[in-house]
């Protein structure tokens, strides 16, 4: 399948990302070793110049990876189901071989890691003395690892797709609902406690983000809980009301135009909320070294965390309530 236009584009983009990040890591090694804030040597000047290159490249790769995630989602949701037999949506496409789902996870984690680095970079750039400078570059190593993993997994995943072999789509996923996999335990879990937990964690998240400035660890943990519950409930509860079908527990059909691409909105809201609460946590640890006021930044992050989770909860609830009150 490597001759497919969409796949060529993504592989090309991933290759570029790997090359650029290799360059970046290679260039950042001297910074990690020789950075000395007090020194006025020629080496230090050279290293300072180098930081511009690194932050520019990471910014570029970050935006490319966001677009690449979008491209990947379009590929598995809309493009590939046509050419793989039996696959009706991304569930079937991603499960044609074992590399599908790990690839999706790695792409999501990579976005979070880039966001973390860019945030550190941004905070560092506001200061005249670059207090975070040598240390923030340690984040480049996980980023590089993720990009390489992403590249290799993409190659394996796309090259191992055989259009002739029948994929097992939802028809199989539903009938083996008692599978041990975490997203298929729906049959055994009662929905009501989960729903209560979902709304409770949402309320706690909002309260802790707004009122407990000192304890971002708490809100980050709550945010993790909220996100997991949200994805679980979206898959097993809310999608039914989005599709209007009681038996259709497919997580990926919401990315289709038939449902107004609502999946893109829901998942970006969720991811923005998660990233913002993670950054609030980061902010607490770097705050001491910063001289510029961090209050406006914190405000933005708080707004991001609250608005993202609210948007998600509101949209899901509207679908649900709409269905209840219609009947």
């Amino acid at each position: 399948m490597l001759t497919h236009t969409w796949i060529i584009t993504q592989t090309l983009g991933q290759t570029i990302a790997v090359i650029l990040l290799l360059i970046v890591v290679f260039k950042s090694l001297p910074i990690l070793m020789h950075w000395n804030r007090e020194s006025a040597s020629f080496l230090q000047l050279k290293l300072e110049r180098r930081t511009y290159l690194i932050s520019t490249i990471i910014q570029f790769v970050f935006w490319y990876q966001i677009a690449g995630l979008l491209l990947f989602l379009i590929t598995v949701n809309n493009i590939l189901p046509g050419s793989i037999k039996g696959a009706m949506c991304a569930t079937g496409v991603l499960s044609v071989n074992i590399f599908g789902y790990p690839l999706l996870w790695i792409k999501l984690i990579a976005v979070i890691v880039y966001a973390q680095f860019l945030f550190l970079n941004r905070m560092d750039g506001r200061e005249p003395l670059y207090p975070l400078t040598p240390n923030k570059y340690y984040w480049l190593f996980p980023a590089l690892l993720l990009v390489i993993a992403d590249f290799i997994l993409s190659l394996l995943y796309f090259s191992k797709i055989e259009p002739d072999i029948i994929a097992t789509c939802c028809s199989i996923s539903f009938s083996t609902a008692k599978d041990s996999s975490i997203f298929f335990i729906a049959a055994n879990v009662r929905m009501v406690p989960m729903l209560i937990f979902f709304y409770l964690s949402f309320a706690l998240l909002v309260i802790s983000v707004i009122f407990f400035n000192r304890g971002p660890e708490l809100s980050f943990v709550i945010s993790l809980g909220f996100t997991t519950t949200a994805v679980f409930l979206l898959k097993n509860h809310f999608v039914k009301y989005i599709y209007g079908l009681p038996s259709h527990n497919c997580l990926f059909d919401i990315f289709w135009g038939r449902y107004y691409y609502i999946g893109y909105i829901l998942f970006s809201a969720l991811i923005i909320s998660l990233i913002c609460s993670l950054l609030l946590l980061t902010l607490k640890y770097i705050e001491k070294g910063l001289s510029a006021p961090v209050k406006p930044i914190r405000k933005i992050l708080q707004w991001g965390a609250v608005l993202g989770s609210t948007l998600f909860t509101l949209l899901c609830s509207i679908y649900w309530l709409n269905w209840i009150f219609l009947d």
Binding site: T3, H4, T5, T9, Y52, T56, K85
Partner: protein, 388 residues
């Protein structure tokens, strides 16, 4: 906002100052983008057409093989397939190829006695079924033989005897993509021309009650009758999905190589700063531009070039495929055909396709110009002014 516009201003003015170099770059870039955008548009539109047009067909197609060749299928087999549970209807087909020596073209002959009512694209003189001396035909035969509705059409049967038919219906040239080479005869006449014995058919189309059961029914037919091949309509459509995705991909590889060679040009252009350019950057640094400002200025230069060329390439590709009917791509499909359809494709507008093209065009260019831009941005003002 103002600061951004100022930097963009400067970037554009400095591009315009060196316009002779840049125009060549933009032209080549536009052509490269136009080439692969054409491939993507063309294949996307063809695929859309195939999926839509072939969506109402029966679910299963049954053919008989003997010695690896297709052979006619007997009436008795139709009867025994029709009683399989789940089968709604068995529709026998009579079809084959006809080489027309005067024009050198190959036509497709189909036998049909169904009433052609309610077909907008068929210009028919009769309302009922076909008599044994009447035909419907696509636009191909009348065009190569300079005949038309109401005139005669001569076909030579497999024994060598000439038969004459009256053209009583003609498909509009709008449906060329489907009917260009068709000649539709009554079943008895089709048998005579194709040399198929009575009670025999070329192959069968099988309708099933529940489309989800098509595979199961197909497997059952396959087991019950040795030497039979079953093709499902899903496979039929996936044939058209695969169309071009193979060589279409190779086209893209070709385009990528031209893109790479072009990128080397861009890289070279961006990194080999002339003396004036170095001096200019030195002066900018000297009058107080930050490294990040210069970097942004260089970035905007690249962005202006690549965005302009991508948009121009998209427009060019669109005109090429949908207004000029892809004169550079169609010959590959037509090959040595004497008769080929003059189709006009319906644009399949997909935001995702445009996103794909933009990613393919803009990302490598920006990536190739980042490092040279940084090299320029860290130029030491004092050094440049002394040596320059």
């Amino acid at each position: 906002m103002n600061r951004w516009l100022n930097i963009l201003d400067y970037a554009i003015i400095s591009l315009l100052r060196r316009r002779r170099k840049q125009i060549a770059l933009v032209v080549i870039y536009t052509l490269v983008v136009a080439f692969f955008a054409s491939v993507i548009f063309f294949t996307g539109a063809l695929r859309q057409e195939a999926v839509y047009v072939l969506s109402d067909l029966p679910e299963l197609w049954v053919q008989r093989l003997a010695g690896g060749r297709l052979v006619p299928i007997a009436q008795s087999k139709i009867d025994s397939i029709a009683v399989i549970r789940g089968v709604k209807r068995v529709l026998p087909r009579l079809w084959g190829y006809y080489y027309d020596s005067p024009s050198g073209a190959v036509f497709t002959i189909t036998g049909s006695d169904s009433l052609p009512k309610g077909l907008k694209l068929l210009d028919a003189a009769i309302g009922g079924g076909l008599d044994s001396n009447q035909v419907f035909c696509g636009s191909g035969f009348p065009e190569t033989h300079f005949t038309g509705l109401g005139q005669q059409l001569g076909l030579i049967d497999y024994k060598g005897c000439l038969h004459s038919f009256e053209i009583v219906g003609r498909f509009s040239s709008q449906s060329d993509l489907l009917t260009r080479d068709l000649i539709i005869l009554s079943p008895s006449a089709a048998r005579k021309i194709l040399g198929i014995a009575k009670n025999n058919y070329t192959d069968l189309a099988v309708e099933v009650w529940n489309p989800d059961e098509a595979e199961t029914v197909g497997r059952k037919i396959d087991r019950l009758f040795p030497s039979v091949r079953v093709v499902t309509s899903a496979q039929l459509r996936s044939t058209y999905e695969a169309l071009f995705s193979h060589r279409g991909g190779i086209f893209i590889y070709g385009a990528l190589i031209s893109l790479f060679s072009f990128l080397i040009l861009a890289w070279d252009r961006a990194s080999g700063l002339s003396r004036e350019e170095r001096q200019e950057l030195g002066i900018l640094k000297g009058i107080g531009w930050q490294i990040s400002d210069v970097l942004w200025m260089k970035f905007w230069e690249g962005a202006v070039i690549s965005l302009t060329s991508t948009i121009c390439g998209l427009v060019l590709a669109y005109l090429h495929v949908f207004y000029l009917n892809a004169p550079l791509l169609r010959p590959f499909l037509i090959g040595w055909s004497v008769l080929y359809p003059e189709y006009r494709l319906q644009p399949a507008f997909a935001f995702s396709e445009v996103l794909l093209i933009v990613m393919l065009a803009v990302v490598p260019f920006i990536a190739a110009t980042i490092i040279p831009a940084w090299r320029g941005a860290v130029t030491d003002p004092a050094e440049v002014m002394q040596n320059g």
